[in-house]
């Protein structure tokens, strides 16, 4: 775009994603995926394979994750330098409109001005009160990703996608896991049908048990030979329910926005539960409801969709706007994925959300479902366990949501998310050809089995006759 750009980085380049999030966690999950495959004797035997007992070296695994994070961080830094981005180190504070000061602790501050300012300070693991983190036996994802030790028995507080991914890693490395979930259902953020299947595959057969409908009111780290103790209280009645004695506890209760010290009060912006209020174009709204000019906030800090690629998309939307082109990001077209084995991915609405919308706006919804057991490639890999679900409007063929649970779900979802982003209708996409045999035919199945009453819309491009 040709804009002069500077980044104020208070810690390490790359932020959470590269250093404490996506990158190291996927490294660990890659290890756990392989471990699981190598350990599943009967799975391998069905393929005719026999493997001597698989083992792992904890330090080696931790190094893989750390090295990967370093590599990506360096690549990112070099790329930024190569394209001419100034990297300014220090904690940034907004002094006034279009004016920012930054500086390292203990050093003098520098003040700079800029035409537009984007706040992208991200988030940190949220630790509810009563929980004492010691970084060794009571940890957050930040510590867990360093994999300093593999406990025999770890309690994971929170069964969202972070907790779920960690349970996958720990159980593959030999630990036993106990989930502590405040809501009545495990994996509350997922489509309930997918959640049920996920529970059957990811939790029930593994060395995992769970307590739902309870809060961990107090967690004491291990000390003097005593284990980590977790006191559970009923989520509704707040009555004490049970006490767990485990070797470690991982707090995965969500992430809190990191907006302290940003100086937002200098421009009359009040945070809501720590989040910076923005409109659909990521422009910051002040305490009086007015748009603060030239100030944007993207990513976890605004709380709209706490995913790395959502933040990137929001950033791109902001730059379009800065360059004079209006752009509104359709958040419903942003896919999300959970990298357990098998993976879970989704885009759009869940079934209950779709039904609610349908009731409110007065249209019908239909479902199309297919099992990975019907897919040749999945069966060839002996990974037939999986389900794909399409929620759509039968009257006009609009795709409302797609949910996939199975092998490579995180990669397969993009066909659906692209369709939603471009507004493609089912009656058009069902004629697209998918290579055989591939897992993408799972989605092909969904599109082809959907019954839409609308007819094919006009061709987007001229067909190429061969």
């Amino acid at each position: 775009m040709g804009l002069k750009t500077a980044i104020i980085e208070g810690d390490v380049v790359g932020g959470t994603c590269v250093n404490r999030g996506c990158v190291p966690s996927k490294a660990l999950l890659a290890v756990s995926g392989r471990m699981r495959e190598l350990q599943s004797e009967h799975h391998l035997k069905a393929l005719g394979l026999q493997v001597a007992a698989a083992g792992y070296d904890r330090q080696g695994v931790a190094d893989h994750a750390n090295n990967l994070a370093s590599k990506i961080r360096n690549n990112l830094t070099n790329s930024m330098k190569a394209i001419g981005v100034d990297i300014l180190t220090g904690v940034g504070t907004i002094l006034g409109p279009q004016k920012v000061k930054y500086g390292k602790v203990g050093f003098s501050d520098n003040v700079i001005t800029a035409k537009d300012i984007i706040i992208a300070t991200g988030s940190v693991p949220f630790v509810p009160k009563g929980i004492e983190i010691d970084g060794k036996t009571v940890i957050t994802s930040d510590h867990a990703l360093k994999l300093e030790f593999v406990p025999d028995w770890i309690a994971i507080v929170g069964s969202g996608y972070i907790g779920l991914e960690f349970s996958d890693v720990y159980t593959a490395l030999g630990s036993e896991v106990t989930f502590v979930e405040a809501l009545d259902q495990l994996m509350p953020g997922f489509d309930p049908e997918i959640g049920k299947l996920a529970q059957r595959v990811l939790i029930n057969p593994r060395k995992i048990d769970y307590h739902t409908g309870v809060f961990a009111s107090k967690i004491t780290p291990a000390k003097d030979g005593k284990p980590v103790t977790i006191e559970l209280i009923d989520a509704k009645t707040k009555e004490p329910k049970d006490t767990l004695e485990v070797d470690a506890a991982l707090i995965a209760t969500g992430r809190a926005p990191f907006t302290k010290g940003l100086g937002l009060e200098n421009i009359n912006v009040a945070t809501q539960r720590g989040f910076v209020p923005v409109d659909e174009r990521m422009r910051v709204i002040d305490a009086d409801g007015n748009l603060v000019p030239h100030l944007y906030c993207i990513g976890d800090a605004n709380g709209k969709m706490m995913l790395a690629h959502a933040a990137s998309a929001q950033g791109i939307s902001v730059i379009e706007h800065v360059c004079g082109k209006d752009h509104v990001l359709n958040h419903l077209s942003i896919p999300a994925a959970c990298f357990t084995h098998p993976e879970i991915s989704m885009v759009g609405l869940t079934e209950p959300q779709a039904r609610e919308k349908a009731k409110k706006e007065g249209f019908e919804i239909s479902l199309a479902k297919t099992s990975f057991k019907a897919n040749t490639k999945a069966l060839a890999e002996n990974e037939g366990e999986g389900l794909a679900k399409l929620i759509y409007r039968p009257d006009n063929g609009e795709i409302l949501g797609v949910h996939i649970f199975g092998l490579h779900a995180a990669d397969l979802i993009h066909e659906a998310s692209n369709a939603i982003a471009l507004g493609t209708r089912i009656q058009d996409i069902k004629f697209a050809v998918h290579a055989h045999p591939t897992l993408s035919e799972v989605l092909d199945e969904l599109f082809k089995s959907a019954k839409v009453s609308a007819s094919v819309s006009s061709q987007i491009s001229e067909p190429v006759a061969v």
Binding site: A52, D152, L173
Partner: protein, 548 residues
């Protein structure tokens, strides 16, 4: 397929017990490829023979022609719910899709035998339906005794007679803090306890701070750890372990095996069936057994066999029937000693017959062998063998034996000693019949067809000397036998010598068979066993009673 369901004549009550689940899969129509809204009927018409026919089993249905086992997705109805014919009871996942399964009968869901998320082979009972409330308790008791045997492994291979109830908790010497304490058990320990029906509260924990670990539960259930432990090898050892492990395709992760491996040998771990056989054989070591042999003249039996062979009767059926009839007169040999303190007399005579199947050994049971006629018995036997070969035997078809018959005659073996399976009082080992020269009282030789139910009177209790004792006694036996032969020869020769004029040496060649019975000396004594063998031999030698 649907026509099969309609045109099939419902079997009579006597044949119900024969044609159970093997025909079940043929009765169900192939479901159309629609999602879970498709429902179809299951037909739990098998009635349990030992219980009043008011409790019905709900079977794992075959939802497709390729399905061999199914997983319960969820129970639509819970225990205690009233069911009416045609209502959905459970959702089952097949190799293709999830299906709602309906009940064919009215009643009350008395017990859920296979829970949600668990797998069961097609045809295995997954729930019990009671007709009235009174039977609910009975059904529950039945469910718990039925499911005490370990849940089916992913490859459905039925295990041979395994102890029906979990073995008593092995006391592990770990320091137990005084006073009442919370039960702390790891998630996997809890899962194992649930799976093997162990009360987690009764297990002693040996983990850190007295925690109950999975290995504690496995010890309490008497099962060996099935999973190889995940090795955290520590830095630097990864490469070494990989290289060391590579040439030996061993499954278990033992870093250093106690015995050196002979180069060129391969280690093949036991299948579930082989592990069960091994376990049973080791268990038998704790039972004091003795062995009694008997020579049985099989001329008449062989003649009868020739006559009934075209009608489908096998030698196994003949022997089983003969044994059953003999057992009817000697109930103590049909008893068992399960707790070491009492006789457990069995009301039915169930003859288990050892069958070698591919890579394994199983003992299908001919139930109430004394009550069934020879032809029915043979038919039943044929069905059982087919089911055994197809690994379709139900647990009660292989673990309800009260007496076992083992025949190695087809290999030409003349006599052998069988190991007593745990939970039974006696096992009969039968060899091949061969022409035998027999000397009778008058000094005449005759070669009788003798099924030598070989006499080894061994009051050996220490098993280390078990094999030695056998050979020793065997040696003695032969010695005795040949001694008899030698002396009668001598006498007859003397007789011959003294009575030259009246010599007539009639060499009768008869066919004889060796039969050995090993029995539990806690309940079966020498005289009991000998008397049983005498009766058995009389029945075999006068086999017309077999065809009754």
């Amino acid at each position: 397929m649907a026509s099969h369901l309609l045109s099939r004549v419902p079997p009579t009550s006597t044949t119900i017990s024969f044609s159970s689940s093997s025909s079940l899969s043929n009765n169900l129509p192939w479901p159309s490829r629609r999602p879970s809204s498709t429902t179809f009927l299951i037909n739990p018409r098998r009635k349990i023979s030992t219980v009043q026919a008011k409790i019905r089993e709900i079977f794992m249905p075959a939802l497709s022609s390729t399905m061999t086992e199914g997983k319960i997705v969820s129970w639509v109805k819970s225990e205690g719910d009233v069911l009416s014919k045609g209502e959905s009871v459970v959702v089952v996942e097949s190799d293709k899709a999830d299906m709602d399964v309906e009940t064919f009968y009215d009643g009350i869901l008395a017990a859920i035998v296979v829970g949600e998320g668990e797998t069961a082979p097609v045809g295995a009972p997954i729930g019990l339906l009671a007709e009235t409330e009174d039977e609910i308790a009975e059904a529950k008791a039945q469910a718990s005794s039925k499911t005490a045997s370990p849940s089916p492994p992913p490859v459905p291979s039925p295990s041979p007679p395994v102890a029906e109830a979990p073995l008593p908790v092995k006391v592990v010497s770990a320091p137990i803090p005084d006073g009442p304490r919370k039960i702390v058990a790891t998630p996997y320990a809890k899962k194992l306890a649930k799976q093997h029906k162990i009360d987690i509260g009764s297990v002693i924990g040996t983990g850190p701070l007295g925690r109950i670990t999975p290995s504690d539960v496995e010890a309490a259930a008497g099962i060996s750890p099935s999973e190889s432990s995940i090795n955290n090898l520590g830095s630097g050892n990864v490469a070494a372990a990989a290289i060391a492990a590579a040439p030996v395709p061993a499954k278990a992760a033992t870093p250093a095996s106690p015995l050196p491996l002979i180069p060129g040998s391969t280690v093949v771990p036991f299948t579930t069936m082989q592990a069960a056989v091994s376990k049973n054989m080791v268990e038998s070591l704790s039972v004091p057994t003795f062995c009694v042999g008997y020579p049985v003249n099989t001329d008449a039996l062989d003649a009868l066999y020739e006559k009934v062979k075209p009608k489908g009767v096998t030698m196994t059926a003949l022997l089983a029937k003969a044994a059953a009839m003999a057992l009817a007169q000697h109930p103590v040999v049909n008893a068992s000693c399960k707790d070491g303190k009492s006789f457990r007399y069995n009301s039915s005579i169930n003859i288990a017959v050892a069958v070698a199947i591919n890579g394994g050994l199983i003992t299908p049971v001919l139930q109430d062998a004394d009550k069934l006629d020879l032809y029915l018995l043979s038919q039943r036997w044929k069905e059982l063998v087919e089911k055994a070969r197809a690994k379709q035997l139900q647990p009660h078809e292989y673990n309800s034996g009260t007496f076992t018959l083992s025949n190695l005659g087809m290999f030409g073996v003349d006599k052998f000693d069988a190991i007593l399976p745990p939970g039974q009082g006696a096992i009969m080992a039968v060899g091949a019949s061969k022409p035998t020269v027999v000397a009778d009282r008058d000094g005449f030789f005759s070669v009788k067809s003798k099924m030598l139910v070989f006499c080894i009177i061994l009051f050996e209790i220490h098993l280390s000397s078990f094999t030695i004792a056998i050979t020793r006694a065997a040696y003695k036996g032969y010695f005795v036998y040949s001694f008899i032969l030698a002396t009668t020869t001598l006498f007859s020769m003397m007789g011959l010598v003294s009575d030259l004029k009246n010599v007539s040496v009639t060499l009768l060649v008869e066919t004889g068979d060796q039969v050995n019975v090993t029995a539990d000396h806690r309940i079966v004594y020498g005289a009991d066993l000998a008397a049983f063998l005498q009766t058995f031999s009389k029945i075999v030698e006068n086999p017309d009673s077999l065809t009754l």
